[in-house]
């Protein structure tokens, strides 16, 4: 669901085909019939943005049929935990959870916790109240629990206020009829999926759910995935072979750039970025961010080893291991927040490395206007992209709104080496790191990003070498001494990997993060990656073919943590440590040997902790995790059906309509996710949504997506001859019915209009897009791949011109997957006339501009 795996992950899709050939049933739930649907046993078409209703329906079905996996739920999830009496569900408060602060448009989460738990919810609970953007929800790793035990538990799960009952009630209105009404599929189609999932789960069988950005790119993105987690936990499909929720990640190595992040709010290994007020010292940082129990109970050794890796000898017990040198986070600096600040003149310069935001980001015009406010812009890419050339060519140039001479931004273009031209790792979707060796030298002046960042750092350090200013000390004292080789002094990427993997006091390589110490004697650049260079071997570079080992293929690459190929795999055995079934055995307890064993994967559990182990009342850290609690990253060792802390928009998924929708929320009075981020400003107008005046002016649903033939903004595919020719023109996909209604001609042109912009696309009329029947009306979808822009062998209007900024507030992802629009036959007007057309629509819809 929410993934077009055959098109976007074709190489991985071979395993889906393999599974299908072995008898697996493949179901694709998607607003469109895609190449994935073509290979599936069943395609169910739903309305974009309605997945929580669908999955909520599945949860309801599971309860109705009593299909949930009792033992799994009781022991491995927080289903039995009793909640605070003052917690209020959306069902009781017309779409809001308790704690809603309408003034700040944010939740206060005091009431969301486990009953009688005295400790604070960690990870910025206090900031959450202060900072209405919900900024400090990032990197939340749970709450304080004594001995890893929620204080109030009803193992029979009968208590009205236990989580299981809460979940049951929360979804009780998500009936098949409601699903049909909301999603536009038939109740039968829905039931077929729900039945298939239930029938294929339990002791003997497991089902997996695959998603990608069809789920994330919504104002309810995170909760879409949460809904799937609830289904999988209730059915016992996590931590077991053939189960799980597979997030198919994006750009090659987007997973790696989350683990060792290019994100603004976390440090390597998902350690939260410290906050200026709340985290004055290392102690308070650890106290507030690390629960006492579970694997995060060791936050101190993780961060101390990280600080030692970064500041080496300069980091001592006395100076808090240079904790003060870490940057502090004081607000939302996510991509769009940064762009808006830029638009307001608050950003001087930007390094644009491996991104093409004028095509890839929503509301392209807003992005270009923001870039034009910069003093300088550095673009490192393979060739000048639309973002590098924004100052000389854009729709605003065409319309006469902007002239090149008016733009004062100084743009530097630096040629970058491609992955084939440099050493390094890729981290795949399943946390598997694979080393890639340089195949050839980069051409001309192109250099690797590592080369650039390293030598840039050296240049800055040279400039600051004599500085007395204390604020320069982090830079002067940072360890910045990688060996270099070759004519261009290329830094040694393996050396970086060694630093990430970490060393013991004697300089030898660490085996796993269990060895990390809080006293500064170990170094480790990312605790989850600890051991990737164990035994002095680049574990990620192991490439033993699968034909020469068993199917777990442990000697191919390396997966974090501890080379665990399936995370939380303790749950593949029952509470007593026996496999749930012979068929599905994976990791189990070997009583004679006194350790966890299995088919060959590393147990994601303390190897010698017996199933019957129970923590003492004073137990902390991993000691506090009982022998039957597999989810060791949580303070209670349980998987969370209900999330007491860490999310800004509620502990349970709730169906809200997208920011722009032709329909009203059939379940709640509250139309949209109340915590979503919207920006009401002239550069970012929204189409009116259902119920508002003028909504009918933009009557159709617009959804954007990818094609196999291109990559994201097209900078890497529209510029490559053999890819450019495969999908040479921007097109949209519409149903024959919509084509008839609007007079669109197959193969002809259409103009798509929103309050932001009007773009033109060729028309592909196809039966693969069906109108849906929603709330007694027809819902028409206009599908648009978003790969085109103004530069390259093939060019075209960009779909992102059409979209507004409307974000999920947990992760600030944009709602690329749904907006509303109108569509009309023919090419769009040129120049001024294009603006006039958009303006005319706005006027008719009553959108202020």
């Amino acid at each position: 669901m929410g993934s077009n795996m055959a098109e976007q992950h074709p190489v991985g899709f071979q395993w889906v085909i393999e599974a299908k050939e072995r008898g697996a049933k493949v179901i694709h739930v998607d607003p469109r019939f895609t190449r994935t649907s073509a290979m599936a046993d069943r395609h169910v078409q739903i309305r974009a943005g309605s997945d929580i209703a669908f999955l909520g329906g599945v949860v309801n079905y599971i309860f109705e049929r009593d299909a949930w996996f009792r033992e799994y739920v009781q022991h491995y999830t927080n289903g039995p935990v009793i909640l605070k009496p003052d917690f209020q569900d959306t069902e009781d408060a017309s779409g809001f959870f308790s704690g809603w602060n309408s003034e700040h448009s944010a939740y206060q989460i005091d009431t969301w916790g486990y009953n009688k738990s005295t400790g604070e919810a960690t990870a910025g609970k206090s900031e959450q109240q202060a900072d209405v953007s919900g900024e400090q929800a990032h990197g939340a790793h749970g709450m304080k629990l004594s001995a890893g035990q929620p204080p109030d538990i009803d193992d029979s799960m009968q208590d009205e206020r236990c989580i299981l009952q809460m979940v049951r009630r929360h979804f009780s209105r998500y009936t098949p009829e409601m699903v049909a009404e909301t999603c536009g599929c038939s109740a039968e189609e829905f039931l077929e999926v729900a039945r298939a999932l239930c029938e294929n789960s339990g002791r003997e069988r497991t089902s997996a759910i695959v998603y990608s950005v069809g789920w994330t790119q919504h104002t309810t993105g995170v909760q879409n995935i949460r809904a799937a987690s609830i289904v999988q936990m209730l059915l016992g499909n996590v931590g077991r072979p053939g189960g799980g929720i597979l997030a198919l990640r994006g750009h090659a190595n987007i997973q790696g750039s989350t683990d060792i992040p290019t994100l603004y709010n976390i440090l390597p290994g998902y350690i939260p970025m410290p906050h200026p007020q709340s985290h004055p010292t290392l102690d308070t940082f650890v106290e507030l961010n690390g629960p006492d129990t579970g694997a995060w109970g060791n936050l101190r050794p993780y961060i101390v080893s990280l600080l030692k890796a970064w500041w080496g000898d300069a980091a001592t017990e006395d100076n808090d291991f240079c904790f003060d040198y870490l940057p502090r986070i004081n607000g939302d600096h996510s991509h769009y927040a940064m762009m808006l600040k830029m638009l307001d003149g608050g950003v001087k310069g930007m390094l644009c490395v491996g991104q093409n935001p004028t095509v890839g980001s929503a509301n392209s015009k807003l992005i270009r206007l923001a870039l034009a406010k910069l003093d300088w812009l550095v673009v490192r890419d393979f060739q000048p992209t639309e973002s590098a050339l924004f100052w000389q060519d854009s729709p605003e140039h065409e319309s006469g709104e902007v002239r090149a001479s008016d733009i004062q931004t100084e743009v530097f273009f630096l040629p970058a080496a491609a992955h084939t031209e440099k050493d390094g790792t890729y981290t795949n979707t399943q946390r598997l790191l694979q080393w890639h060796h340089k195949a050839c030298e980069p051409p001309g002046d192109a250099r690797s990003d590592l080369h650039w960042i390293y030598h840039l750092g050296k240049a800055i350090r040279a400039k600051l070498a004599d500085s007395e200013d204390p604020r320069d000390r982090p830079i002067r004292e940072v360890t910045w001494d990688y060996p270099v080789h070759g004519p261009h002094d290329e830094p040694d990427a393996e050396h970086v990997l060694q630093e990430i993997s970490g060393r013991r006091p004697d300089g030898s390589f660490l085996e796993s993060y269990d060895e990390l110490l809080p006293d500064g004697s170990t170094t480790c650049g990312s605790w989850i990656h600890c051991g990737i260079y164990k035994d002095g071997v680049n574990q990620a570079a192991r490439k033993k073919p699968h034909s020469e080992q068993n199917w777990i293929a442990h000697e191919w690459g390396w997966a974090w943590p501890k080379d665990t190929r399936m995370i939380y795999n303790r749950s593949s055995a029952d509470p007593e440590g026996r496999p749930w079934s012979e068929r599905k055995r994976y990791v189990w307890w070997d009583g004679d040997a006194g350790r966890w064993t299995g088919l060959g994967d590393s147990p994601d559990f303390p190897p010698e902790k017996e199933p019957g182990y129970r923590p003492s009342r004073r137990a902390k850290k991993m000691e506090a995790i009982a022998g039957d609690k597999p989810y060791i990253l949580h303070p209670d060792g349980r998987a969370w059906l209900y999330v007491p802390t860490g999310l800004v928009d509620g502990p349970l998924p709730t169906h809200y309509e997208p920011q722009e929708s032709p329909f009203s929320n059939p379940l709640y009075a509250q139309q949209q996710n109340p915590t979503r981020q919207v920006f009401h400003r002239p550069e970012n107008p929204y189409n009116p949504t259902d119920g508002e005046q003028g909504a009918g002016v933009y009557p159709f649903v617009l959804s954007t997506y990818r094609l196999t033939e291109h990559h994201t903004s097209g900078a890497m595919s529209r510029t490559v001859p053999y890819l450019a020719e495969l999908q040479p023109e921007f097109f949209c996909e519409v149903s024959p019915q919509l084509a008839a209604e609007r007079g669109l001609e197959h193969g002809g042109w259409a103009t798509i209009v929103t309050a932001r912009q009007a773009v033109e696309a060729r028309v592909l009329v196809t039966d693969r897009i069906k109108p849906l029947h929603v709330q007694g009306r027809a819902m028409h979808l206009v599908g648009a791949p978003y790969h085109w822009g103004g530069v390259g062998i093939v060019t075209g209007d960009s779909a992102n011109e059409l979209l507004p900024l409307a974000l999920d507030n947990n992760v600030h992802i944009s709602e690329y997957k749904v907006a509303t629009c109108d569509i009309r036959p023919g090419r769009r007007p040129r120049g001024q006339a294009r603006l006039a057309l958009v303006e005319d629509y706005r006027r008719r819809a009553g959108v202020k501009s």
Binding site: Q14, E21, H746, G747, T766, D767
Partner: protein
């Protein structure tokens, strides 16, 4: 440029795309069909007239043969994608390739005709020329008809399916062309054999082509559409008119003879062109390609190239997927 969309699409073709490729041959080829036939049949006419002592006609027919034999290779080479490599044609002799066979015939016939001409002008090489005369005449016969084999031996339905008659059409056309050329340049009183040849050729051409198109049935549609049809009409009109002129006034009026000759020549060329164009029409429309084949299958003449019944009793017991089968 675009098809009407999946819903409206006739189900049994791939987006209306052709199944086979249209030939890449250009205007030179139908001209060559004409000049080859002209050269071939003219040599025969010349040789026989010579034997009968009609020197006036013979000289002119030889000249026509020479013109045809000179123009033919030029046209052929100019049509090649790589004209500089024309000699590769003579790299081998392949009976499976009418083009190869034809190239040798053309080369030999052309050389013979050239020799005859050389002797006629310079008086030299008398002995070889004596052999060359009958050789050119004899080689002229296959030279006139092999071009039909050439096009018939392709996957183009309108050509391939009329393989039995097409050589006769081309043969008749050659006779017609040679007769017409000779009639046009020879004083009527010496031109009686040429007139007879032209009229015989005209009759055969009209008859054979008509028969061929009828026998093709639906497959012959390309002859009734587009340029092939226009050219066909022009050909028939010119041939009929030319023949009429020739039959009535050809023996008496030089002007009529010239007019009739030109009309017949134009007709012969148009007829070749019409055959040529019909081939394109037939190749570009999947209906003809698939239609003929489907008919064969429906008539039980062939099982076709696809089969739904497996030749093994049951699938392999061990389940495996193509994705990982190695």
């Amino acid at each position: 440029m675009t098809d009407p969309g999946p819903a409206a699409e006739p189900a049994r073709s791939y987006h209306g795309q052709p199944v086979i490729k249209e030939p890449v041959w250009t205007w030179e080829i139908p001209c060559y069909f004409f000049t080859g036939g002209l050269a071939g049949a003219s040599a025969g006419l010349a040789y026989l007239s010579e034997r009968r002592g009609n020197e006036v006609l013979a000289r002119r027919a030889w000249a026509a043969a020479l013109v045809g034999a000179t123009a033919s290779p030029i046209l052929l080479i100019s049509d090649l994608g790589r004209p500089a490599r024309f000699l590769n044609m003579l790299r081998m002799f392949k009976v499976t390739s009418p083009m190869s066979v034809g190239s040798w015939i053309l080369a030999a016939q052309g050389a013979s005709t050239g020799l005859v001409a050389l002797h006629a002008w310079s008086g030299r090489l008398a002995r070889p020329a004596a052999l060359a005369r009958p050789a050119a005449a004899l080689l002229g016969l296959p030279l006139s008809t092999y071009t039909a084999a050439l096009v018939a031996n392709t996957a183009v339905p309108v050509w391939h399916e009329s393989r039995g008659l097409l050589p006769f059409v081309f043969g008749a056309g050659a006779a017609l062309s040679a007769g017409a050329a000779a009639v046009a340049v020879t004083p009527p009183r010496h031109a009686a054999p040429a007139r007879r040849l032209a009229l015989l050729g005209a009759a055969c051409e009209l008859g054979a082509k008509e028969l061929m198109e009828r026998r093709l049935g639906e497959l012959g549609e390309p002859y009734r559409q587009g340029p092939a049809s226009t050219l066909g009409h022009v050909a028939r009109a010119c041939i009929a008119a030319g023949a009429a002129v020739l039959a009535t006034r050809g023996a008496s009026s030089r002007a009529a003879a010239v007019a009739g000759g030109v009309l017949l020549g134009t007709g012969a060329l148009s007829a070749r062109w019409s055959v040529f164009k019909a081939g394109f029409g037939s190749a570009s429309d999947p209906r003809y390609v698939v239609g003929a084949q489907r008919e064969r299958i429906a008539a039980g003449q062939t099982p076709g190239a696809a089969r739904t019944a497996p030749r093994v009793a049951s699938p392999r017991s061990e389940l495996g997927s193509p994705a990982t089968a190695s």
